[in-house]
């Protein structure tokens, strides 16, 4: 199929945008100390940090899907008053500086926090400085991306399919499970990818709330930041690893999973 040519008023800014977004990445590639790559990559802790990053970002995404999709449904479909206030509230983590988010998590879930002190007293559970804290910090920062994306998909979805399901004997829950959710699956997938990418790059809330300890809470972004203090070359290599793994994952997902939804 032939497409119309892109008009110049769009083409020029679009090209600028591409340059703006891609050039820093190109800079990273140009400055990568390729000769030391092997040594830096096999340095202790790199694999550990990468594994922790992937596991925690994936767990954060799962938590976000389990909690965020129902929230998106409430925002899109509930007729309750105060919905717009609720929407503004749950998207606050988008604008909150992540370090502030980390402090806020301390105030609630920390040892001295409102909920955290109770958890500590009642069950002897402390959350900060654990891998759980990493997942919580990442979820806090990344879930709004999923919620916004899924809410948009729900708003765009044809509610008459839900009517049709009701006339076929499906209650609201069955309708949600068997009709609504499959219909907005592409939106959920897109939201989950955004959420995962945001969680993978999360730094501020994580280093504040979960701290930094190799193997437990040191994710790749933290490793990159600390490497930058000591050895900028190592930091570039670590950034590259994170970049390659995330881009590869996204491409793989797009082909296997998003492809059909995106084409529909």
């Amino acid at each position: 199929m032939r497409r119309a040519r892109t008009p110049a008023p769009l083409l020029v800014p679009a090209a600028l945008a591409v340059a703006f977004l891609v050039l820093p990445l190109a800079g990273l590639l140009v400055r990568t100390p390729w000769s030391q790559l092997g040594a830096l990559l096999t340095a202790p802790g790199v694999g550990q940090a990468l594994r922790l990053s992937l596991v925690s970002a994936t767990l954060a995404t799962l938590v976000s899907v389990v909690l965020g999709v129902p929230l998106a449904w409430v925002l899109a479909r509930s007729r309750a008053r105060g919905r717009s206030v609720l929407r503004a509230l749950v998207t606050v983590p988008l604008v909150l500086p992540p370090v502030v988010g980390g402090v806020a998590l301390f105030l609630v879930l920390g040892r001295q926090g409102i909920v955290g002190s109770w958890l500590d007293d009642a069950f002897g559970i402390t959350i900060p400085f654990t891998t759980t804290a990493v997942v919580i910090a990442e979820t806090f920062v990344a879930m709004p991306f999923l919620v916004i994306s899924v809410e948009g998909a729900l708003r765009a979805a044809d509610v008459r399919y839900e009517d049709a399901a009701a006339t076929l004997g499906a209650d609201r829950w069955t309708t949600f499970r068997r009709v609504t959710l499959p219909l907005v699956a592409p939106g959920v997938a897109a939201g989950a990818v955004l959420c995962w990418a945001r969680a993978l790059g999360e730094f501020g809330a994580t280093i504040t709330f979960a701290g930094n300890f190799p193997g437990t809470t040191q994710t790749m972004p933290l490793a990159v930041y600390l490497a930058l203090q000591r050895d900028p070359q190592a930091a570039i290599v670590l950034s590259l690893v994170l970049l390659v793994v995330s881009v590869a994952t996204l491409l793989l997902l797009r082909d296997r999973w998003l492809g059909r939804g995106a084409a529909a």
């Binding site: 009517d163 399901a165 006339t167 004997g169 069955t174």
Partner: protein, 350 residues
């Protein structure tokens, strides 16, 4: 199983206030222009919309009773509904779509799929079960939607403009098939449409709705012959003649024959709009095929036209301008010739 309903819904400036009864096996057509409140009425019957007043009872069981604050939600009503644009779930196969209702109502998977397959066979889609709805043509999709609505053997079948999204040729075929399935259906049917042909061809009774209120009700032929308002006259002025087609000739059951443009065969209905019937004092020159002698049995003025009821071998309605009516010196009892072009005659299987 029968429906007894009085529905009141206020939607902005429009108040829908309609009472209706549908007997077992009966098809009621609710006919009216867009925005008349037809779909609102249907949504209330389906349970998708709670009425502001009135009562809906099916087979003696109250589904809605505003005074008693009773409302049976849609998913607990034993009904089937066909929507204008079929609304087959795009993520399920055609078979899964048809099996959806039985599954949600607790039928085991195997049985549900068997019932769905049987219904798909009944609507001529046996081969299409594994396909996605997106791979079906418009007519096939609407037939699948009909199968999906009927598979659970509902007490009430609701049809919301079931044919209006189809192109003219497909509409004829699907309408004929729908007619057949409605004849076999034991429950009550409410059909909402803005197309008088649908109403005439499919319904046992017609309810004409305008601005949320019923303006006329009765068997289709009666409503067409004796429209109570200009609006109804314009809407349902349609002569419907049963016959048997053979090529482009239809032998009418009441005698006489009509030449049509589209070849057909077997039992058919012939529809002639009153405005396409021309009246002459004598048989016109050039011997047109569709020319019949008749007698003016009645004449009712509607605005600038006069609707003439013609008795004869081929009973027709004819709309003529008031001027022509006067020039021809027509009056009840006047002999005339009625002429219709073959291309103006609609024919569809029954």
């Amino acid at each position: 199983m029968s429906v007894d309903a009085h529905v009141v819904v206020r939607r902005g400036p429009l108040t829908v206030d309609v009472a209706l009864e549908v007997a077992d096996g009966e098809v009621l057509a609710v006919l009216g222009p867009n925005g008349a409140g037809k779909s609102t009425l249907l949504r209330v019957l389906a349970g998708l919309l709670a009425p502001d007043g009135g009562r809906v009872a099916v087979d003696g069981t109250p589904w809605d009773d505003v005074a008693a604050r009773a409302h049976l939600p849609a998913h607990r009503r034993p009904l089937g509904m066909v929507f204008q644009d079929h609304l087959l779930f795009p993520h399920l196969s055609v078979l899964e779509n048809v099996a959806f209702g039985p599954r949600t109502r607790g039928v085991p998977r195997r049985e549900a799929r068997a019932a769905a397959a049987a219904w798909l066979a009944r609507v001529g889609l046996a081969e299409h079960g594994p396909r996605r709805p997106g791979q079906l043509s418009g007519g096939q999709a609407q037939r699948a939607a009909l199968a999906r609505a009927l598979v659970g053997d509902p007490a009430l079948l609701l049809l919301d403009e079931p044919l209006s999204a189809l192109d003219a040729r497909t509409r004829l075929a699907v309408r004929a098939e729908l007619r057949r399935h409605l004849a076999d259906f034991a429950g009550s049917t409410v059909l909402v449409t803005h197309d008088p042909v649908d109403a005439m061809a499919l319904a046992d009774r017609v309810l004409v709705v305008e601005d949320g209120a019923v303006v006329q009700a009765g068997p289709p032929a009666d409503v067409a012959r004796h429209p109570r308002t200009d609006y109804v006259a314009r809407l349902v002025g349609l002569s419907l003649l049963p016959g048997t087609a053979e090529g482009t000739t239809v032998r009418l059951d009441g005698g006489g024959a009509v030449t049509v443009a589209e070849p057909a065969s077997g039992p058919v209905l012939v529809a002639v709009r009153p405005e396409s019937v021309a009246l002459y004092p004598a048989r016109p020159e050039g011997s047109p095929r569709n020319a019949w002698p008749a007698t003016v049995a009645g004449a009712t003025p509607h605005g600038s036209t006069v609707r003439c009821e013609l008795d004869g071998e081929v009973p027709l309605l004819a709309d003529v301008t008031a001027t022509a009516f006067a020039e021809l010196g027509l009056a009840p009892g006047s002999p005339v010739w009625a002429v219709v072009k073959a291309s103006e005659v609609a024919v569809y299987a029954r």
